[in-house]
């Protein structure tokens, strides 16, 4: 055993050292004294042999004891419960399979062979959870401008035919006892075959702040309403609701920032959150975004961040009530306030209300059946600045709309859904070119089949009616798979 070697080492060294030191002066003496030196050497040799023999015996005893311990550890569960409390924890089994306490027909087959697995606890052995997800859609539409007019979200179907909506690598884990870390990288392919790589979210979450506080910091989806916090593969429909596309943006409201949250000490769940973001770029669509869609026709002013007043603030209050053993309600109110790039003093305000209700019987089979109703209503006031060069006045653009959806898990693996949407706004000077404004109504029934929690197949029909394009019909077939760790379901 290596331990024995190490234990022997100092003794062997000591002995040879003593021998060597003793030998040096002796070597200088005359030959008459050599015989007595030889005697001394022999005595030393004998001592050394005796010492080594003792050590061999001891290590043999230790080994025997260890074998006994292992044998005892291997069958802790075989004994009937002892009436007294053992002083220490029951040791983890050191050997794979202990013989069952009673003879089983295949008891002989249960003895361990090298080809069988060794039951060591494996969960949590990696420092991070890793997963890879793919979401793709194929479909047909009466519209020739699917991606330009009717499906405006970045992860929505991009056109007739096939769309790779998202391929995502997600990582998460405990950083240390104080933080958890999350990150995901989203890839998508546009109709020109170009691959786009987006850093979806990268943030840390505090785990040990006092007073029920929690900070999230990094790049993340703003906690505005319900669906804005979800990734495309968590959506109940193939596409993003119109009002979210319009007000929170095709890329969702997602920006570098920080969020402070307080779990309010009420008898029911109440969480108060305040997110603070840069509010700049394509994923801060209603704020300091750089394209004409975002500024509603105005040339983007490239407003810089001067002070706290130029940041984007996203407050949210959410409460939840268990109405009964089988019903739960979550209600929330959110806001988004920050400057926009259409004028030097222009800013935007978004208000949202959301409601989620779910019924599931107490003894549901694999989570089925269930009925869930989700609704979000949003209103935005966009103070657009004047752009004389493009002949656009200073004006207040007001947009509003809602979506409401019912998901019915009628049978294990099967979910039927129905979504109704409506969006509208006041008249604006750039409306003729603005695909993000005007009245739109959409109805979307769908049916989703979940072979397991790691895959799904979804069929959806959209009846779309808009001021700009009339009535369009689309049918989408969506597929998803997941490899690796399955992220848990948030309620």
């Amino acid at each position: 055993m290596p331990l024995d070697m190490i234990m022997k080492l100092p003794h062997a060294l000591g002995l040879s050292l003593a021998f060597g030191l003793g030998g040096l002066p002796v070597a200088a003496q005359d030959a008459g004294q050599i015989s007595s030196v030889d005697q001394l050497q022999q005595q030393l040799q004998q001592l050394r042999q005796q010492f080594e023999e003792t050590q061999r015996q001891q290590s043999a005893q230790i080994e025997a004891l260890q074998r006994q311990i292992e044998a005892l550890q291997a069958k802790p569960t075989v004994q009937a419960p002892a009436p007294s409390l053992p002083p220490t924890a029951p040791p983890l089994p050191a050997q794979p399979e202990s013989p069952p306490s009673v003879a089983l027909p295949e008891a002989a087959a249960r003895t361990w062979t090298p080809s069988q697995p060794i039951p060591v606890v494996r969960s949590g052995q990696d420092y991070l959870n890793l997963s890879f997800k793919m979401l793709a859609t194929a479909g047909l539409s009466t519209s020739t401008e699917v991606g330009e007019e009717i499906e405006l979200g970045h992860h929505d179907p991009a056109g007739r035919g096939f769309t790779l909506q998202s391929a995502e690598i997600a990582l998460d884990g405990a950083v240390d006892p104080y933080f958890r870390g999350f990150g995901n990288i989203c890839m998508s392919v546009d109709p020109d075959g170009e691959t786009h790589v987006d850093l979806g979210e990268v943030y840390l979450l505090t785990m040990a702040l006092p007073a029920n506080l929690q900070v999230k910091a990094g790049l993340f989806l703003a906690e505005f309403g319900r669906q804005n916090q979800q990734h495309a593969y968590q959506w109940d429909f193939v596409d993003q609701p119109i009002i979210l596309d319009r007000l929170l943006g095709p890329h969702s409201l997602r920006d570098p920032g920080a969020r402070l949250s307080w779990l309010v000490p009420t008898p029911f769940y109440t969480e108060l959150m305040l997110g603070v973001f840069n509010g700049q770029g394509h994923s801060a669509f209603s704020f300091r975004s750089h394209d004409y869609d975002g500024t509603h026709g105005r040339t983007s002013l490239e407003r810089e961040l001067h002070g706290l007043g130029d940041l984007l603030y996203v407050p949210r209050l959410a409460s939840s009530f268990d109405l009964s053993d089988t019903q739960t309600l979550v209600a929330g109110a959110s806001g988004g306030f920050g400057p926009n790039n259409s004028g030097a003093d222009a800013d935007s305000q978004i208000y949202g209300l959301d409601l989620y209700w779910k019924w599931k019987p107490v003894s549901a089979e694999h989570g089925f059946p269930f009925l869930a109703w989700q609704t979000e209503g949003l209103y935005r006031r966009y103070d657009a600045g004047a752009d004389p060069e493009r002949d656009l006045p200073s004006e207040a653009l007001k947009d509003w709309g809602f979506y409401s959806q019912i998901m019915w898990g009628f049978k294990r693996r099967w979910v039927a859904g129905l979504r109704g949407e409506w969006a509208d706004g006041n008249a604006g000077a750039w409306d003729a070119s603005d695909r993000f404004r005007g009245e739109r109504i959409r109805f979307s029934p769908n049916l989703t089949y979940y072979p397991t929690a790691f895959s799904k197949i979804r069929l959806q029909y959209n009846l779309d009616d808009g001021d700009r394009f009339g009535t369009e019909h689309s049918v989408w077939l969506q597929g998803e798979f997941l490899l690796g760790t399955h992220g848990a379901h948030k309620f």
């Binding site: 569960t77 419960p81 089994p93 405990a174």
Partner: protein
Amino acid sequence: MNRLDQPRANSRTRWPSLLLAACVLSSPTAWAKLRVVTTTPDFAAIAAEIGGDRVEVTSLGKPTEDPHFIDARPSLILKLNRADVLVEGGAELEIGWLPPLMDSARNPRIQRGAPGNVYASEGIEMLEVPSVLDRSMGGVHPVGNPAFMTDPVNARIVAERLARVFGQLDSKASDSFNANLKRFSDKLAGKLIEWQNRLAPFKGSRIVAYHNSWPYFARRFGLQIDLFLEPKPGLPPTPTHLAQVMAKMKESGARVILVQPYLNRHTAESVARHTGAVVVDAAGFPGGVKGTEGDYCKFMDHLVNALADALGGKTPSTQQ
């Protein structure tokens, strides 16, 4: 004005004392009951046995609920936020719903590694640990079958663990926890003999189960529960697979089908009709069947008696 100044002065002095009170209230104190939250009702029953009147026990999962598919309702965040002890099964039993709750709970007392976090499967000899992780095999748990509490010896291991953890967190009541543990262990030792005797005549009997939740129970009581209505763990039964199961049942004379309350009883009933077998409503947890609420021994009584009755040819008392 004096009248206005007075409350202001008061509020200034009141704030620190309020803060102090908040700190005292938010930390576990010797006189307060330990707030114990468990993921499933079986751990809750053991925690109540050991903690007695020194603990307040709540189970996140309901007795009739499938522990894999509990909704992460926000009300559960609140329960975790206020807990001094969390007892979780581990072995990926709660992986579908507990992690986001823990992220939101902001309670360092019960996070992994903290004294108040009890990972019950630690110290249990896990069965059915797969050698290869491959999801084409169905929902196989990578660290072994998590349904280990149907073996009373494992229940005792968990009870010992809880007595130790409770004693660490509330040292004044440590003697009482140990006394409760001794009483529970003694009772369990007696009961185990009773249960083993009750099932002894059926040693080696082959039994069918809807889902593979019974390897620990089968091993303890010498039964062979290795025919499942599910073709692979977590996948719903298919006609082809059921036909194979029925053929094997006729071949081996298996005539009992175990079904937990949250699984599809109709499938089991139709198999039973074709094979002359009986369906036994087997609670997954204390409280899953009436009369077993919050009591581990009553839960095991129910399992053992229902099975022994069915194997002995009597109509199970729990069958509706």
